[in-house]
Structure formats: C-alpha cells, structure tokens
C-alpha cells in the first residue's frame, strides 16, 4: 500500500528523474537549468523511493515541469497548484510533494492559494520561476514586473507596483523562504536541497530569464562584471559581505541597514550584520527582503528565513490519532444508530 514507505537503500541518478517526454521550452530558456538542477539534486536529497514523489503545477511555461520529471505528476489549472498539491499531501502524507509555478501562476491568479498554503504550513516545496513576464501568453506584464515596464498590455508602461515575493511569503508566515538564480547552478542546487530537507511550506523564488519576452531581466545579477556588486549571498552565521573582492558589507543600525565600505578602514567584518536564518524577528527578514527595492543595496539570494513548527499535515494526522484514542476507532453502526432513536414494531 502507498501508505507504507518501504525503507530500502535507494540509489538514483539524475537520469532516473528524466521522463521520456521531449522538453519543449524555448531554446535558451532558464527553465532548462532549473530542470537540470532539480534532476541533479534529487538523487542526493530524496529519502524515499521515487514513486513517492509528486510534482504538481498550474499553467504557464514553468508548469510544463511535471511532464519532464519521471515521477508522479499533475499538471493542474491556472493558479491552483498549491491547492491540488495540498490535497495530494493530505491524502497521503508519505508523499514528497513539489510545486512548479511561475510569477503569474503563483502570485496573480493563484495568490490566494499560495498565501494560505504558507499560512497553514503545508509540507510542500514550492519553486516559483520568476521571469517577471507572462511568457506562455506571449509577453504581458506580470505581478512581479517592475513599474514602468513596457509590455503588450502596458504600451505606455506599467503603473502597477510589483510584488516582492519573499516579502509576501514572509507576510503569510511561510516557514522557509529562499531565493536563487537559474544561472547560478551550484547555488540553486543548494537551495533545492535545503527546501527538500525542510518540513513545512518551503518557498524558493528562482530568478529565471525568459530570453524571448524579457531577456536580460536579471543580467545585473548574472553577468560577470556586474554580479558581484549586485548579489548578496546569504550564509547562515556569516557577516553579509558582497562586492568585487568582498569589499562591501551590510551593517544594521537599529532597524536601518547601511551598505558600508570595508576598505576605508572605518568598518571591519565585525561591524556587519550576521545572517541568522532562524532569527525569530520577522522584521529583520523584511529588511532583507526590501534590499531589492532600495537603491544601492544588493539583491540577497540564499535562505532568508527558516522556522520549525508543526506542519498542517502533521497536525491533521495527530488530531485524527488523538480523537481515535479518545473516542476509539469509529464504528459506523454506532454512528448511524446514534442520537434520539425509536423503534417501530
């Protein structure tokens, strides 16, 4: 039965997770890298036979993902992947359930399901491919497109303020929030690994280049000559250092962050903000999440925050067991014949 996971030595390779379907993303799409990093990481992190893995998706380019993974997969409808995945997880808690989604799918039409999955701490791993554009519908602005963006539906520039995804996840109290980049394979693998090991809703925002409709959206973060000055890699227990030659750092003055120059002699590494993934104060995570929107600050990647708390599925089955203990296993005959009954002879 599906409910009893067989404990055996499992040795998988990346190839074991590739399905027989031809991958049909546009050549040069960042999705290829994400698929490759997942397939590379899975043999390392999957602690159960692969028939216990389910990939669920919604609609959009990213949502073709399950077809390319040789696991169980469900290609759902637009925005509903977190809800479908929730049903899968609650039906069988032994399954490892992964969601592949995009910025439009997860934050626009599926925003409600996303925040409630986070709030309930359902044990799902949610990978959001953020390309800041609607790709599958050929180039309309998305809820993460920057203000002023000219697209097919915003010929005079977008007047929307974009979502800040880690901030949104934080507001919904997701228990694991991380960010990575398609062109940073080692880092992406590490984030997938970390999400896979987390119990509860694990959210990874993955910056993904759409080379057809929004090419270069993240080039500052990926190109050799700019990335060091624009990316801050968060490492637990380490001071926040970035820049070419690690010459810059982040200092936290009360609740005000500042970028400081480590070469002037005024500040040393000891003055810097030391990243703490388990920081119980969400205000500091929010400060980190806001770097993106603050001129002069680098874009953080890595694990923003991780909280350990009971997951919804654990709670659900705990409660079932508690009630069984208290009331005894349910007896149908007894329930049917309960309440005020009378006999007619």
């Amino acid at each position: 039965m599906a409910n009893n996971v067989e404990v055996k030595e499992i040795k998988y390779t990346a190839k074991d997770f590739a399905s027989d379907q031809e991958v049909r993303w546009c050549p040069g799409c960042g999705d290829y890298s994400i698929l490759a990093q997942v397939q590379r990481t899975f043999p390392e992190i999957i602690d159960r036979p692969k028939e216990n893995i389910v990939w669920v998706s919604g609609i959009g380019c990213s949502s073709r993902f399950p077809y390319y993974m040789n696991t169980y997969g469900f290609h759902g409808i637009h925005g509903r992947a977190p809800a479908i995945a929730t049903g899968v997880k609650l039906a069988n808690p032994n399954l490892s359930v992964w969601v592949a989604s995009g910025d439009g799918d997860l934050l626009s039409i599926g925003g409600n399901h996303f925040i409630h999955a986070c709030r309930k701490n359902i044990d799902l791993k949610i990978l959001m491919f953020n390309n800041r554009i609607y790709g599958l519908t050929k180039g309309q602005y998305s809820p993460t497109s920057e203000r002023g963006k000219v697209t097919k539906t915003t010929p005079y520039g977008s007047i929307d303020y974009p979502f800040n995804p880690p901030m949104l996840a934080l507001g919904a109290e997701a228990s694991f929030i991380a960010r990575s980049i398609d062109r940073h394979p080692k880092h992406l693998q590490e984030m997938i690994r970390r999400a896979g090991l987390h119990k509860g809703t694990a959210f990874i925002e993955i910056f993904q280049n759409c080379n057809i409709f929004n090419d270069g959206a993240f080039s500052l973060l990926t190109e050799k000559d700019t990335k060091d000055d624009h990316v801050l890699e968060l490492i637990h227990g380490q001071p926040m250092v970035f820049g070419k030659n690690k010459n810059k750092g982040i200092k936290l003055d009360g609740l005000t962050p500042m970028v400081v120059d480590l070469t002037s002699g005024k500040y040393s590494k000891d003055d810097l903000w030391v990243h703490d993934e388990f920081d119980p104060n969400p205000a500091r995570t929010a400060i980190l999440a806001m770097f993106d929107e603050t001129p002069g600050f680098p874009t953080p990647i890595g694990v923003f925050r991780q909280i350990i708390k009971e997951t919804y599925d654990e709670g659900m089955f705990r409660q079932i067991e508690e009630v069984k203990k208290k009331k005894g296993e349910g007896e149908l005959e007894k329930i049917l014949f309960s309440g005020n009954v009378w006999e007619v002879n």
Partner: protein, 617 residues
C-alpha cells in the same frame, strides 16, 4: 384555587404548526425540539425551517422574523404542509408576516406582552391586530408569555435579558401540553446543553414546565389535542435532516469503499453543516479541509482523488459556479470526485437561506468544452444518504466527477429515517492499479474507466493534467482525430452509466392520461398532490428523477406511455428543457420560484387544469 377540570383530548390525524418570532428568539431551537419529541412519540413528520440571512436582524422588524414549520401526522406525510393550522407568534412582526399563510379559522397563540406601541409600529401595524378585528374568524389565544416567564423565573440568578430569552421554552412547554407530548426529551436536552451553566438549566427548565403547567391550569384552553403514532414500516428510526444524511452517506461510502474520506470545502449557506458534521468523525480517519475558497475546496479534493482518497467537495450554487473550471479538470483527468450542491435561491448571492432548483442546468451543462459529468439528485432529507452513497459508487466505478444536487429545503428539513444496518449496505469495490505490465494511464476497462494508479505505487509513475491526452497512452496530444475520439469517449462513458442505475418507477398507473414528473427535493410535495388528486378520482401517475445525467434507461418509454406530462419545478423549467431536448416530446410546465417549496394545493390545481377539468377521471 378552583379544582382542576379534566380537559377534553381531541384526536387529530395531522397538524401543521409554525413557530415564528424574532431571529434571536430561538424559534429554530423551539421547532427542532418540538420535532424531535414528535418523532420520538412516533409520528411521521416533515419540517421546514425558514430564517432570514441576517443572523440577528433588528428586533421586531418583519424581515427579522424567523420561522419553523412542522407537519406531523398519524399517517404517512411527505411535506411540511402548505398552510399551518397553528401559528405561534412571539411578536407583532411574526404575526404580520405569517398570518396570510395561516389556514382560515386556524389557531393563533400570541405573546401578548410584545404587542406594545413600539413593536406594533416596527411591524407596520397602525392599530393593534389583537383588538381591531384583524383576527376575526381565527381562534386567538393571547398569552402574556414574557411576563409569565419572568414570574416563573423569579429568584433564578439570571439577568433580565437572559430571563427574557427563556420565553421560547415557555412557548414550547405550552405547545407540548396543547399537543399532548412529553417534555422529558427537552428537559434532558437542556441538562446536556447547559451542563456548565446551572442557572441556564434552572431557568430554561422552569420556563418549559411553567408553559406546560400554564396550559393545564389556565381557563384559556378548554381542549388539548393528540396525534396518534404513524404506522411506519418496522425498524429503528431517527429524525434526520438532509445535510446530516449527506454527511452520514459519505462517511458510510468511506467505510464501504475502504477509502479515507477527504472533504475540501469552503463554508457557504446552506451547505456548511456537511463539513461541520464530517469534521466530527475524525476517529473514522475523515479528513476535512476548510479551504481558503471554493476553488481550493474542489482542487484540494482533486489532489486527494489523484492520491487515492474518496474525495468530495460541498457547496451551494455560487460555489458551484466557482468550481466550474476545476470540474472540467476532473473530467479531463478522469478522477473520482463528488461535488455536492445544496441549491439555494439564485442567481448571484440570491436568497442564501431559501430553497430553489435552479442549478440543474449548471450541473448538467455548465462547463467549457464538452465536459460531461454524472448528475444525481436526492428526493427527500433521508434520501440524501442513499444518493451520497450512489454518487460515491458511480464516481469510483467510472472514474468521473459526479454532481449530487440537494437543496436548502431537504438539507435543513427533517423526516423520520429508518436506519439501515451497515451489513445491509453493499460494499463499494475499489481497485487501484498495481501491475506494471501493460499499464497506460488512459487504457480503459469495460466501463470505459481508466485505471486509478495512485502515487506511491512503484513503476506506475505517470503524469496527468488538463491538457488533452492521447487515447490509451495519456501523453499530451494536439492530434485532431485523437481529440474527437476522446470527446466521444468521455461522453460515452457517462452515457453508459444508464446501464448501472435503477429504472424509473412509475407510482400509479403505468400508462394513461397524465404523468407528473419531478426531480430532487419536490418529491414529497408532488407525491402528496398526486395522492390528493387520485383521492378525488383523477387519473394521474408520478415519476421522480433521482438520476438526471444520464437519465434512467426506460425514461423515454415511460414518458411516451402518457398523453400528457406535467413537470413542476422550482425554476423556470430546467428539467423540462432537458427532457424536451433529449426526447423531443411536449411537456406542460409548472414553475414557481419563490424560494420556498411548491405548494401541494397548487400542484393539485395544475393536475386538474392539465387534465382539462374532469378529463382523465
């Protein structure tokens, strides 16, 4: 004190009582208690709660009036009664709202304390109806219920407001006396309900007994009434509402299929009770998930179906509309799923607390693409149990979504239910695919059902989804011929269910002049009307549809055995439309859409009219 006179005990065959008061007056509770006691003394009964959507509408207003009607009898009955014989009116607004429906010459018991200037004006009475002749021709009993309750509760440690709230128990006690029912069941209920609040126990019990004793002692009532137990088939009974029966039906389906039950649902009137009931059965392993919205309610259920649970979602009309796209997904992925729609007045928010049958076309047709689903409908409160089981059986056997239609009337109304023993209920066989050899996700069996291969099964890893799939192999396919084939296969699979459901049963002559055809919650009303017309000598038969998509196999033959067909519905003719288009026959419609059950008398009139006066006799 004067010696007590033995009061006359008059025997009645049937009585319809309506309790009416402010929505905060506890009328639903009073009605439910009276119903339970009435069921326990062995009467057949049928109830109709009728309450406003506002939880506590401003006191004393007409729109804040809440009512509970029950019809009980020593014979079989099928409806809550067209017109009450007795009206208990706790304030002027309750009298104003309900008087037009009371039988001519009926009995009115009013709380005379509440007929003050303020309440009269709130009810838009220019003069006091107790004094100005409005009630001439009725038997009116003016009882100062508020002050009698206050007197009875003197010395009990309750605030004046709490004392006032106990007045519904006084009214209930008085009605128990008047209709010769024991008070013990309600006394026990009070003790259980208020176990943590000894003052409430004392106050409510005192009020109840005071009401009962008042009937006995006062000169006001010279007679009391009794209704003998009904001759119901042998068995053990309980009084059950449609929503409770629905919940028990799915619990039973879970036990009988051996599948854990998963309910994804968002609260919505009048369906919320289904998730409330099911959430208490955790010791059966039942999983209830209160979703963030209607769409999550159904999509979590679809996920749970994919992973091998008996998955259901419950809602009402507006929620069914929101679930539409996801039902299409369940059609495409061919997963077993039951969607329960407890219909209410529409469109839009409509009349949330009122009943209607206007979601039939939405259930049968309301999706994008060719998206056939099985549609079944419960006929009475207790029939919800049977149809919940049937919906589950069909969903699992045919790997298809099934829509189960009930409505606000049968969901909230109750009737005696002969409880089936679990060993009388057939098992629901389930076969998960486990063999690797020859497995394809869309390879169909003799029922055209595809295999249920759930995650966790080694070697059967596969992907499904909302994109069109290739026949047999289940890969994404844009092939034109494949799409045409799949559209037909999905339609044929649903049509084939006709071989697996009971034939239509005609009640009355098997052929003749007139057949009255109904579906869903109107069964009782139509049955009573047909019985009345037959008793008057009219030749008329009845069929009732509980399976609507597909229709039972003999539908065409049955319909064509009658010269005329009359279809009463609480909509503008939705079953009529389906029947006309499917069988190309002419039908007469009778449609009244008032948010209330149809009236027996109106259907009798229609029967007579359709028969052309004396025709058919």
């Amino acid at each position: 004190m004067e010696t007590e006179k033995e009061k006359e005990l008059l025997q009645l065959k049937e009585v319809t009582i309506r309790f009416a008061g402010d929505s905060g007056d506890g009328m639903q509770l009073t009605g439910t208690q009276f119903s339970e006691t009435t069921a326990l003394v062995g009467n057949d009964l049928n109830t109709l709660p009728d309450y406003p959507a506002e939880i506590r509408a401003p006191a004393g207003t007409i729109y804040g009036v809440s009512g509970f009607q029950l019809h009980f009898s020593s014979e079989d009955i099928y409806t809550p009664g067209d017109q009450p014989d007795v009206l208990v009116a706790m304030n002027p607004a309750a009298l104003k709202k309900n008087l037009p429906e009371l039988k001519k010459g009926g009995m009115i018991i009013v709380n005379s304390d509440s007929f003050d200037i303020k309440n009269l004006s709130l009810a838009h009475y220019e003069s006091n109806p107790l004094e100005d002749g409005t009630l001439d021709g009725y038997q009116v009993y003016q009882v100062p219920i508020s002050s009698l309750t206050a007197n009875a509760l003197e010395g009990v440690k309750l605030s004046p407001k709490e004392v006032s709230r106990a007045k519904n128990f006084f009214a209930l006690g008085l009605m128990y006396w008047l209709f010769n029912r024991p008070i013990d069941n309600t006394v026990n209920w009070i003790h259980q309900k208020f176990a943590k609040n000894p003052e409430y126990i004392e106050g409510n019990e005192k009020a109840l007994r005071a009401g009962y004793n008042y009937g006995e002692m006062t000169e006001l009532f010279t007679a009391r009434y009794t209704v003998e137990p009904a001759k119901l088939p042998k068995g053990i009974y309980r009084s059950i509402s449609g929503n409770e029966a629905t919940a028990l039906g799915f619990l039973t389906a879970s036990v009988k299929s051996g599948l854990p039950l998963f309910l994804g649902s968002y609260p919505i009137t009048p369906a919320s009770e289904i998730i409330q009931y099911l959430s208490t059965y955790k010791n059966f392993g039942v999983k209830t998930f209160q979703a963030e919205d209607e769409i999550s309610g159904i999509t979590t259920a679809i996920g749970a179906a994919f992973a091998g649970n008996l998955a259901i979602t419950s809602t009402s009309g507006p929620g069914l509309a929101l679930k539409t796209e996801a039902i299409g997904l369940a059609v495409m992925t061919e997963l077993p799923l039951v969607i329960i729609d407890v219909q209410r007045g529409g469109p839009s928010t409509g009349l949330p607390t009122k009943t209607e049958q206007a979601d039939l076309l939405q259930a049968v047709c309301g999706r994008n693409g060719e998206a056939p689903v099985a549609v079944v409908a419960a006929a009475t409160p207790s029939d919800c149990f049977n149809m919940a089981l049937e919906a589950s059986r069909i969903a699992i056997k045919y790997m298809t979504p099934v829509i189960l239609l009930t409505d606000g009337y049968i969901a909230n109304g109750s009737e005696p239910w002969r409880i089936p023993h679990t060993n009388e209920i057939p098992e629901i066989p389930v076969k998960f695919r486990t063999e690797k050899e020859g497995f394809y996700p869309y390879l169909r069996n003799e029922n055209l059902a595809r295999p249920w291969a759930i995650p966790g099964t080694p070697g059967l890893e596969h992907r499904i989804g909302g994109l069109e799939k290739s026949d047999i192999y289940g890969n994404v396919s844009y092939d034109p011929d494949n799409h045409h084939k799949m559209v037909q296969l999905r339609a044929k699979k649903i049509k084939n269910i006709e071989n697996d459901i009971p034939l239509l049963e005609v009640e009355g002559d098997q052929s003749g002049e007139l057949l009255v055809a109904g579906w869903g919650g109107t069964y009782g009303t139509i049955k009573e009307a047909v019985n009345k017309a037959r008793a008057q000598g009219y030749k008329v038969s009845q069929v009732h549809f509980r399976y609507i998509n597909p229709f039972p196999k003999n539908t065409e033959q049955v319909l064509k055995s009658f010269k005329k067909i009359l279809i009463p519905e609480i909509n503008l003719g939705q079953l009529a439309r389906l029947i006309k288009s499917e069988f190309i026959i002419d039908v007469q419609q009778f449609n009244v859409v008032r948010g209330l059950p149809l009236r027996v008398a109106d259907i009798v009139d229609q029967i007579i009219k359709t028969l052309g006066g004396n025709n058919g006799k």
